[in-house]
């Protein structure tokens, strides 16, 4: 499959401060996003995530490096017609209504009137804001703004959608809604490139990720390759046994009532515990193996640097 987005050796530095001091932000970024996948771009604050995205969009001009969108140079009009972008903490012209807002962006793509109207109603439906179509943006909640922002990014039916922290500042319901929309985009055959802090969400929806720390890509690849299947420990919640009986089997935490949470690191010990419970006629309430999460990986990598 062709690469939806390809970045080769991207460098960018800024001159900051009153006495201009050169600060290197991107120190040679290279990555590749396959068509039709959801790609996650992770990194701590200040790593260069937003800078990378702005370079792709032509908001910032890199010192060095090559970027291609569906094989086209990234600044060409052809490339721009196929992308949609949602910035972090978006702010829009708050005196416009949702419909007027989308209409304006539709005009920028020189969409014909009928086509525009169809698209707008379709998008409003997609993001669940049909009822607020004639409401001024100044009256929108954070979550609603995020969604209308997403709609603006999709007005031209882009093949590549770039989202900068799309889940930031949303409540769990809001995050779920956006996640669902992103998955639906993938189902429509679009490619999604998103940067985020919220690792659980990335884990849930991304196919491949790249981790950027201090302007460099530390790790890149399919999620399942990066995060080992290895079981770190098992959490066992049981009742009917006493503390001293469980000595040496694992880390002990008590929960309210009779229940005990035990963090077991060795697999053999689990069998022992199961036998114990059976013998003493206790009860196992839950047995959850914890594998390495993306967060563990992330924190581990970042700590190394």
């Amino acid at each position: 499959m062709a690469a939806a987005l390809k970045i080769e050796d991207l460098h960018k530095s800024f001159k900051l401060g009153f006495i201009p001091k050169k600060k290197e932000i991107l120190k040679g970024i290279s990555l590749s996003v396959e068509e039709g996948e959801i790609f996650g771009y992770l990194g701590p604050n200040g790593a260069g995530k937003t800078t990378t995205i702005k370079c792709i969009l032509g908001l910032i001009f890199p010192d060095k490096g090559k970027m291609e969108i569906f094989g086209q140079p990234h600044l060409s009009l052809l490339a721009k017609e196929r992308i949609g972008f949602l910035p972090e903490n978006p702010y829009f012209y708050d005196y416009l209504t949702a419909k007027e807002f989308l209409n304006f962006y539709g005009q920028l793509f020189l969409l014909k009137k009928k086509e525009k109207e169809e698209k707008i109603s379709h998008l409003l439906q997609l993001i669940g804001l049909e009822r607020s179509a004639n409401l001024q943006l100044r009256k929108f909640s954070r979550g609603m703004l995020q969604r209308i922002g997403l709609a603006q990014a999709l007005i031209n039916d882009p093949s590549l959608v770039l989202l900068d922290e799309p889940l930031g500042g949303l409540d769990p319901l809001g995050r779920k809604e956006i996640r669902d929309i992103i998955i639906r985009l993938k189902e429509e055959g679009k490619t999604v490139f998103l940067s985020s802090h919220i690792l659980q969400d990335i884990e849930m929806i991304c196919d491949r990720v790249a981790i950027i720390v201090n302007g460099q890509i530390i790790s890149q690849g399919a999620l399942q390759d990066l995060v080992r299947e290895k079981i770190l420990f098992t959490e066992v919640i049981l009742s009917g046994l006493e503390k001293k009986e469980l000595e040496g089997l694992g880390e002990y935490f008590s929960i309210h009532g009779e229940r005990i949470l035990l963090k077991v690191f060795e697999e053999e010990k689990i069998e022992k515990i199961l036998n114990l419970v059976q013998t003493k006629r206790g009860k196992i309430h839950s047995l959850i193996p914890r594998t390495e999460t993306l967060e563990d990986l992330f924190v581990g990598i970042v700590k190394q640097r």
């Binding site: 090559k66 086209q72 140079p73 600044l75 060409s76």
Partner: protein, 288 residues
């Protein structure tokens, strides 16, 4: 693909630079052309319609003295331009604005008066300006001093000159010559009493020998004038009665037309020409 977009970028850049210089050249050229078109330019003509300097002062937020300077400088250029035909129409107005904005700026009063007198040939305006100057600056002897000069030399209104010189002399710092000018002007208005008293005062108070001499000469002149006038009056009465001139001045005393025969300041007798009936002082005052 990449190479052509790079070329494209460079091309647009060069085109923009070219267009920049082109438009610059065009507007500069147009400007030069516009210059040549004769236009009834009255630079700063809008100033003329401002109702009063009083309101202007409030509008200038404390920069009134700067504004006064600027308007003054403009006014000088304006009045130096002889091509503007009716430039004196607002002379009073403009200088009154300047005085409203910065009443203590002395130059404009002087220059305004000079322009009024020598260029606009409007004496009254000159006096008006200088009066305003004095009114706003009672400590400046210069204004009545100059006004006195203008009255004396140009208008030849000695009474007016006298009044101004008096005013000037009363202000601290006025030069000594003010008093003398006052006395001279008094003489010219034939106010001999004042003239005599002033010259006497000068004579008695002054230390410079040269000026003392001048004062003394003037006193001589005043006395001579007073005396000669009295003598002429007496001669006239004599003539009326006896239908001839007296042969000798002493006759006037003998026959009771005069109480006593006046002598000049040095104590000498006045010269008398019985033929013409004229009296002259024995010495020319300046040659004593």
């Amino acid at each position: 693909m990449k190479r052509s977009s790079l070329h494209e970028k460079e091309f647009t850049f060069l085109f923009l630079i070219f267009f920049l210089f082109l438009s610059c050249g065009v507007f500069m050229g147009l400007k030069l052309k516009i210059e040549q078109i004769p236009r009834k330019k009255i630079p700063g003509s809008s100033i003329i319609y401002i109702p009063s300097g009083k309101y202007l002062k409030f509008a200038t937020f404390g920069y009134s003295s700067l504004l006064a300077d600027l308007i003054y400088i403009w006014a000088i250029q304006y009045y130096s331009d002889y091509s503007i035909q009716d430039r004196f129409n607002y002379l009073d107005h403009i200088f009154s604005i300047i005085s409203e904005l910065d009443p203590r700026y002395t130059d404009p009063y002087e220059i305004g008066a000079l322009i009024a007198v020598y260029e606009a040939k409007d004496m009254d305006l000159a006096f008006k300006i200088l009066d305003r100057g004095l009114e706003k600056n009672p400590d400046q002897w210069l204004f009545p001093f100059e006004a006195g000069h203008l009255a004396q030399i140009v208008k030849k209104d000695y009474k007016l000159a006298m009044a101004y010189y008096k005013k000037a002399s009363e202000i601290e710092g006025a030069p000594d010559i003010t008093k003398r000018l006052y006395a001279s002007a008094a003489f010219k208005t034939m106010d001999f009493k004042t003239s005599w008293e002033t010259w006497l005062e000068i004579y008695q108070t002054v230390k410079d020998e040269r000026i003392k001499k001048i004062a003394s000469n003037h006193l001589y002149q005043v006395k001579a004038t007073i005396d000669i006038t009295a003598l002429k009056e007496a001669i006239g009465k004599f003539k009326a009665k006896y239908r001839r001139n007296p042969t000798d001045l002493s006759q006037l005393v003998k026959l009771g037309f005069l109480a006593s025969l006046p002598k000049d300041l040095d104590g000498k007798d006045y010269l008398y020409d019985s033929q013409k009936g004229e009296v002259t002082p024995p010495t020319i005052p300046w040659k004593r």
